[in-house]
Symmetry: C2
Subunit: 110 residues, 2 copies
DNA sequence: AATATTTATCGTAATATTGCAATATACAAT
DNA sequence: ATTGTATATTGCAATATTACGATAAATATT
């Protein structure tokens, strides 16, 4: 045992879980925020911005890419990463919907 | 090595990371959705709903509680868990703000 | 009091994540 | 072609997560 029982849950639940998990690390949040904040999709400056070694940053970038939260394109020598809006919208909408449902229920719990 | 370098990132980044990480597992998403959907909030019902053993569910509930996403109150013999709205609002707003920032930028990237 | 019910905790195995040094790869510039 | 620069991959150690059987703790019921 030890591995998540992915196939016992719905596709949607797994999809949101993958997105949330990818976001669930301060370094990856810092990367996302840096990409959102900076004007151009500045390429390699992410490594300089973070308090982590280059291989570690590269790994976090890979995870964000796998989750579909960023995309990278080759720009000569360097690689240009930027936000992949679609999945950020997806998770935004997920929480927005939860919020609406909670309001309707009035959360009259315990 | 192996532990997250928490203190190299901002409080806010760590806070959101903790919330996202707690949500980043399909079982915990299923728990949250069950609590949002159903009127009941008894722990035992959650255990029946999920395809996991009781100790595993208990552990997931504990993590959600630690992250401040649910709260539990003793109800006689049983324990009643329910959504703690405040932190769900917090993460909702976080993604809503990102979305607004991305719109303003027009994401004119690569 | 004895028993049943409900939830938490302990212990442990399997697996995953985090972080980095060393190294590889790929393009730039000389 | 050689050198420099930027990023990825490999390999590995440290730590964390996931899952569950066994058991404990706490209340309910008889």
């Amino acid at each position: 045992m030890g591995a998540t029982k992915t196939d016992h849950f719905s596709d949607r639940q797994n999809e949101i879980a993958i997105l949330a998990k990818a976001i669930g690390h301060p370094a990856r949040i810092a990367i996302l925020e840096f990409l959102i904040k900076s004007d151009a999709c500045i390429c390699g400056d992410i490594v300089n911005e973070l308090p982590l070694a280059q291989p570690t940053v590269s790994q976090h970038l890979k995870e964000l890419k796998n989750a579909g939260l960023i995309k990278g394109s080759i720009e000569g020598n360097a690689i240009c990463y930027c936000i992949d809006e679609k999945n950020l919208e997806k998770i935004k909408n997920y929480f927005a919907n939860i919020s609406i449902k909670l309001e309707k229920k009035n959360n009259k719990c315990c």
